[in-house]
Symmetry: C3
Subunit: 253 residues, 3 copies
């Protein structure tokens, strides 16, 4: 964990986002406190040149639209051509429109990592998991779904929940750090996807990148929750404090 955090702090990778409009600021902050640089784009004409300076790309379909479809394709294809890793956050992919959007997208681009909750990852495995909208209510044993999703898509899966499951279809790891307030927080998943972008920018081991991102956010979430278990508002600020302090640990120490 320390090594990858050090890599991010030293290499300052640029993470290009086709972002969820709801949580853009929070995602940018999360990428930023790790020591990486966030950049968001909303224009297809600059896709190629921004991907060229980026070290990783994150596509979040939280506020997808037909108007933004060319943007998702252009940024994703540019990243594929330029061999930059692509992270997909398929928000609420179980809904019909979103499902066909993501299906179409995966026919046109290759994604390296998919980060989602149990309901979203279940969709890639062809399984219906309880949960609606962006909040998937946890059930036991979604590990098999994640492995299946990895095998179906060829992507490394980062499935978040009470237990996070990270798998490339062959190897599977679990992260058990957790915090109520992280689950309560709108955009925690989006933040993690952005953070995964920062980690895949500094290593080719996407399994390790996903695992580390989940650990870092989980530990920061636990620390921040401990400071005020019933304070989800204050939590947002203390979560960023904790992330920054983890990322800067050697500098501060």
């Amino acid at each position: 964990m320390t090594t990858l955090l050090t890599n991010i702090r030293e290499q300052q990778p640029l993470v290009l986002n086709v972002a969820n409009l709801v949580t853009m600021q929070r995602v940018a902050d999360a990428i930023n406190v790790l020591g990486a640089s966030p950049l968001m784009t909303d224009e297809v004409a600059e896709a190629e040149e921004l991907v060229a300076i980026a070290d990783a790309v994150v596509l979040n379909t939280g506020t997808l639209s037909e108007a933004r479809w060319p943007l998702f394709v252009a940024v994703g294809q540019a990243a594929n051509r330029q061999h930059k890793p692509v992270v997909l956050d398929p928000v609420a992919v179980g809904m019909p429109y979103r499902a066909q959007f993501v299906t179409r997208l995966l026919e046109m681009i290759t994604v390296d990592v998919i980060r989602g909750n149990a309901a979203e990852i279940g969709w890639f495995a062809g399984v219906t998991v309880a949960g609606q909208g962006i909040d998937a209510h946890e059930t036991d044993a979604h590990v098999a779904n994640a492995v299946n999703a990895a095998q179906q898509t060829g992507a490394t899966i980062v499935q978040t929940g009470v237990i996070d499951v990270i798998t490339d279809g062959q190897s599977t790891r679990q992260v058990t750090t957790n915090s109520l307030l992280l689950a309560v927080n709108v955009g925690a998943g989006d933040m993690l996807s952005g953070m995964v972008g920062a980690f895949v920018a500094v290593t080719d081991d996407y399994l390790l990148a996903g695992e580390t991102a989940a650990q870092v956010l989980g530990q920061a979430g636990e620390q921040a929750t401990a400071q005020g278990p019933n304070q989800p508002g204050t939590f947002v600020a203390t979560l960023f404090d904790a992330l920054y302090q983890m990322a800067q640990a050697e500098v501060i120490a």
Copy 2:
């Protein structure tokens, strides 16, 4: 108040928003800490299916545009067809473009609740109330305007100010909780509109829903203000803490 909060926490209603792009994160957070689930959309093609899983719809015209006009209509009409309650937040409706936009919208959809400040509600009553942009400077006795606006529109009115006025044109209630920092805060009105969405999702009594939402936000605002009367930045976090604690009161106690 407690009953409706319990209903929200237990039913976890989904509140679908055509949101003000400026304040989306904050509105999503407000809906979320109450125990409801926020969802934002920016695509007309998914309107029908998202309304189908939603328990209420909130239309906020804070960043309206011709490009988003079909979205407002599609979501509003789908909600009407599917008998889901519709809350309208007509930000700065006194301006000419916004006035005709809202006029056109009300010709095509039925709204159940309108949440606005005195200047915005005054517009529905055909009265010019001092105030520009999003900040309406309070004057005395806007109660008559609110009643008139309710009668003109057929909607329940939630008019916020030093005294909040909630009226369906027949019965009128006032909420006197208040806090300077809530008034200072960009997006407090948008947050309340989102919260009204959560409340109308769990009761058919829109007068009670509007009154309760105003009470809950007002009390949380007073609590948060008391913790730092000159700290509008810290206030945002402590406001969400207070809202969450009110919503979880029985669970925590």
Copy 3:
């Protein structure tokens, strides 16, 4: 500094923004805690009438697009016609698409103040300064670039960095207040641009306006950093607290 802050608090100027979608809430908050009123627009059809009630206009190209090009032109031209001051924040203007966008824009509108980091301001001077994306890594002595940029563009330049340089090409001032956490913060530059909008709204002396805005944000940043040097999350809230307290100083005292 006190005089201009008093002017803002008393005149409550309206600052109209074609905003960076990432940081809109934070920019609106910054304008707001000073005592000015923020308003964002995303619709060309309301440009003329919103400029008419506005006291200054801020154009931020952080999330520029062809779709929003008419909006930048319409708001900028309306401001020129109506003699309202225009502030430009040319985020990442060194990138080719953004460069031609800003070049085209400056052929169609006159801007009064340009606020950017050393890399962005260097671009106006025809000089390449190290730095990518939104984070310009500081080097020594960018003063000449800023003066040159002012002379090339006819605008007052507010160049931010370890030392802020404010210049109209004739007179040059420096602001040395600084804080690590302000530099770390996503949107600090955008916030300053919004704040410059509030200051140019209450004085014709744009050099003083730019200098004062930089001082106010810098001092607030130092105060907030002092409260928690390793807490960039908490910093956001305490920064707004500090800005508000500076703006309200006479009222509070």
